[in-house]
Symmetry: C2
């Protein structure tokens, strides 16, 4: 349902062997990109999922390590003869940032449509739902969740028991109320209980906040910054408005997510695995992010009482 | 005297395994950078020559593949606690480009001083001389040469023959005329013939021009674009204002340079070596550029009749 590919795991600056943190998501024939730091187009190309199909870019904020790859990527999309409009989302200031960076990419064969968000928005993107949350960094910063909602299951045995004529079933399945021979059946009468969809959360460049666990609640995948592993770096994390591994893990636990990918490591953190135990002590299903880490998030098995979505590692 | 390091060899966009074309030069404790496309700071770091010591950046033009790595590099220099002013040189429009790109790097602990050049300028940079030439691309574009001039040799046997007192020799060596006991000796009288210095030429993103051979004349190293190898790409080279390998080689031959490094390969040119013979048929001392290609350009051996500088591969 949602294919997810971690393009990089670095913060602050791209390093030899460590691309800047950004995330690629595929839904059907469409690609979505979260953040676009310097060099992001290189692992993007190496991923082999294509480039031209990027329909939307979500920027968390306007530090260079999250957006300075934008002009190069726009030009590359142009060279790939993209003509469809591209949507870019980000916190206030987006128009000025895109205008500034496009000083070296003034002419493109497609429209770039910028959407400034303040946090708290919810909107549809095709079959997907996007939610935003304002988080706390040294400048305005957003977190995102992406959800693929799942419809309630149609129960043919109930429709049959209620005597609904077969030609009307399709309308019930579409969520419409049907009427025939003076009788009336609403869709709720023939649908199973609500079913969880698929949910992905992307949270980076913020201190932990009480608003984050409810925001990420139930996500199959929580991609979260872990700028520092060593708990002794807490003062630095506070000063720079970032998180320790253990803080990200506590958010994952409190949000009841299925798994956590840590990313956005400080350049000084040369071996993030050395601190993985810090996170796993709090949230066992933690993985150290790296370029090429991939997962496919799917709907749960459709059993009669399926109550939770499952995800399978790709 | 001049250490030279090719940081990348790609044009248009950075690719997995091929950084964008840019050149690093070390002179004493100072570093100079020619062009700064997306990702340039990564091979720059891998080179291991340091980052903080970059004192000047020369931009050929404002296509993204030559300058969009600027904001990230500026921030990285800032994080390295550079405080000395940084000089940036480029064709007209430089102020607007730097202002635009710095939308994501507004605060730096050092001054950025921009110098717009039209081509034809010559100026000193410490012991070095910089020359510029306006070339022909799809927007204003400059080529650069960097020279380390060499003084004429002081000939003690002549000073002795002219009876110059020993305490005055230093002044003659500094190029001053000396007088004593009513006698007068100009420095020319005790200096050998002019000696060539060291010269590096950087020419990219242009059609070949008659003005280029005299501009690069006698360079120990000529770094030149070769966007296309296949002569069948000539119409494309003309349309996009780039060069074939053989055109770059003809410039090298006509300029009487010692060696040519080809760079700025089209992304479609996956194996530049397949066309090396095209260049070597015209100019044998041609090398296909790649990240890490290095040379040290030195003064020629100081023999009595040394008339040419030599360079040794590093």
């Amino acid at each position: 349902m949602l294919d997810v590919y971690l393009l990089g795991s670095g913060g602050m600056m791209p390093l030899p062997g460590r691309w800047l943190s950004s995330l690629l998501v595929r839904h059907g024939s469409s690609l979505l990109l979260f953040d676009c730091g310097e060099g992001t187009q290189i692992p993007l190309r190496a991923a082999g999922w294509g480039l031209r199909a990027i329909d939307a870019i979500f920027l968390t904020h306007y530090h260079a390590d999250h957006c300075s790859g934008l002009p190069g990527l726009l030009l590359t999309l142009g060279n790939a003869e993209r003509v469809e409009p591209l949507q870019i989302y980000g916190p206030p200031g987006l128009h000025a940032v895109v205008r500034g960076l496009r000083v070296v990419a003034p002419q493109l064969p497609f429209a770039v449509e910028c959407h400034e968000l303040r946090g708290g928005e919810e909107f549809a993107l095709g079959e997907l739902r996007v939610h935003t949350l304002a988080v706390r960094h040294s400048l305005p910063c957003l977190s995102y969740t992406l959800e693929r909602p799942r419809g309630r299951r149609f129960l043919p045995e109930r429709a049959r028991a209620l005597g609904v004529p077969l030609p009307l079933w399709k309308r019930l399945q579409r969520g419409e109320t049907v009427e025939w021979e003076g009788r009336r059946v609403p869709p709720e009468a023939v649908l199973g209980p609500p079913r969880p969809g698929v949910k992905l959360a992307f949270v980076t460049d913020t201190r932990p906040l009480p608003s984050i666990p409810p925001f990420i609640a139930g996500a199959q995948l929580f991609v979260c910054e872990g700028m520092y592993g060593d708990p002794a770096d807490l003062p630095r994390a506070i000063e720079n408005a970032h998180m320790l591994f253990r803080e990200a893990a506590a958010l994952a636990r409190d949000g009841g997510v299925e798994r956590l990918w840590l990313t956005h490591f400080s350049p000084a953190l040369t071996d993030p695995h050395a601190w993985l135990h810090e996170a796993r002590a709090i949230f066992p299903a933690t993985t150290i992010g790296r370029t090429g880490l991939t997962i496919t998030l799917r709907f749960a098995e459709d059993t009669d009482d399926a109550a939770s979505a499952s995800a399978q590692a790709g």
